[in-house]
Amino acid sequence: MTRIDNPAGASHAVHVRGLVKHYGETKALDGVDLDVREGTVMGVLGPNGAGKTTLVRILSTLITPDAGRATVAGYDVVRQPRQLRRVIGLTGQYASVDEKLPGWENLYMIGRLLDLSRKDARARADELLERFSLTEAAKRPASTYSGGMRRRLDLAASLIGRPAVLYLDEPTTGLDPRTRNEVWDEVQRMVGDGVTVLLTTQYMEEAEQLADELTVVDRGKVIATGGIEELKARVGGRTLRVRPVDPLQLRPLADVLDELGITGLATTTVDTESGTLLVPILSDEQLTAVVGAVTARGITISAITTELPSLDEVFLSLTGHRASAPQDAEPADTREEVAV
């Protein structure tokens, strides 16, 4: 057998065509195409049960597809699993570390399993613990770690073999916002090192933070793919919420913004109950323009926030129906404070 070269997708670290995986009647994947360019982050966005994890499991050789073809770093997932395993790193939905082992032992073990010498495995374990700020917890069993520490250990473990392609399967699901930000920072550092990342997520905000390109999946099918900005524009951008200190200023404020002529998908609305003004915006330039106009008119405001469309809204907009699988209790938290 030879390496399967793929001239058209030569610069694609991950190349997927017509991937199908059925579990009985359930079509976990129903003909998925996906290309991830080298050194970029591809976000795969979809609700629970969309097929994201099935895709990652096929691409990490844990399960085999029923039909279709997939190559990672040029290696075929079905025909060259052993080569493929040498170039990938996997971070699962739940932290895939041995909870009974101390952090250091987890990393050392994986180093040895990846054929590092004892000395190199030791050095790599030390180095990665340091990098992920886990040195002090090195000797404690991972079961005593906080959720965020566990994810960081998991990320460290997936980096030991210096993978060319890294899969992050819902890396922040179930984490509190602060911990989630920590994980994001780490992921951004890894991307800075030139790793190609395939990231699955349920959160629009996470995709926006980390991904260069986005593939939206639903019921085993790709329903949209493209750059983040492009998709966001299709979905309708963000909503800006402005609250003047004096509620009587709401109306004048609305007039000011009307003059700016900013039109997202919806029109500017006044929410008298909360005393805020909702302005649909499509770009950071528009956000800046609003802030400028508010300042120019000397209106004092007490809060200004932007809201991303929730996953539900993305789905509604792209598919015309609500996300198919029942959503977990955690709604997509899409608020971000904007420094004024």
Binding site: T2, S60, Q83
Partner: protein
């Protein structure tokens, strides 16, 4: 920085050499030993089973079965200790399956299976550690045995017995590994394990001679590997005919391994 296209591993590059398999198995053995250090209670069964069962059988049944053997309790000690060895090799083997299904319920098994290691390494490591536990239990058993009056007539026989029970135990472990991969949780592994263990252990010559059992049961016990292992152990340590029982035990062990090891590895490889 384009590792993705710079690396070109051929099939030959990706083949794992024997040294690699040993290194991987070693790393996983270390993991399982660290588990024991983390959780010393997991050694309780290996520590107390030989003590409790030996004392129970010797002092509860020893008198009456010993009489049937034409002696007393001392006579029964000589009879039952080799049987205890056979029993432990079976009972302790179960642990390999329960620990395994726990592994599957955590994400760490996904990590192992996405690493470039031989699929057998994870299983071999489990077996190696379980055999070490069994050696520990055997040492405890022999100490208790000597304390209750067991005479080892042939020391070489003792070592041969330990080797034979390890061989048999490892074959049984492949069965429990297969169950561990196939069944969903530790409890079901244990449940199914008991269903298999109990008839095999009591329908054997481990605890009592089979002469007084009904004919149909005797046929069963004659072919029960636990009987042949216990009888071979008696012959080796205490004296008496050995060859027949030894060979039957070896054939059972090799046969079970030859069938179950590939099944276990296959199930492990294709587990979704």
């Amino acid at each position: 920085m384009s590792a993705a296209t710079a690396t070109t591993l051929t099939d030959a590059d990706a083949r794992i050499p024997l040294r690699g398999h040993l290194r991987h198995t070693g790393a996983l053995v270390r993991r399982n030993l660290l588990w024991i250090r983390q959780d010393p209670e997991s050694m309780f069964d290996a520590l107390f089973m030989p003590i409790v069962f030996t004392l129970l059988f010797v002092y509860v049944f020893g008198g009456s079965i010993g009489q049937a053997l034409g002696g007393g309790q001392e006579r029964y000690v000589q009879y039952v200790i080799p049987g205890m060895l056979a029993m432990m090799s079976m009972t302790l083997s179960q642990g390999v399956g329960t620990g395994f299904s726990q592994d599957f319920n955590s994400g760490v098994m996904d990590r192992f299976r996405s690493l470039p290691i031989g699929r057998g390494s994870v299983l071999f490591a489990k077996i190696a550690v379980e055999l070490a536990r069994m050696l520990f239990a055997t040492a405890i058993l022999m100490v208790v045995a000597v304390l209750v009056g067991f005479h080892i007539h042939h020391w070489t026989g003792l070592f041969a017995t330990v080797g034979l029970s390890a061989l048999f135990a490892s074959s049984i472990m492949w069965v429990f590994l297969t169950l561990g991969v196939m069944l969903k949780n530790a409890q079901s592994v244990q449940g199914v394990g008991f269903l298999v263990l109990f008839p095999l252990q009591f329908g054997s010559s481990i605890f009592a001679p089979t002469k007084s059992m009904p004919g149909w049961l005797q046929h069963f016990t004659d072919y029960n590997p636990l009987s042949t292992l216990a009888d071979a152990a008696r012959g080796l340590m205490v004296g008496g005919p050995v060859a027949h029982d030894l060979w039957v035990t070896v054939i059972w062990s090799v046969g079970i391994t030859a069938i179950m090891a590939p099944i276990a590895i296959h199930k492990f490889r294709t587990k979704t």
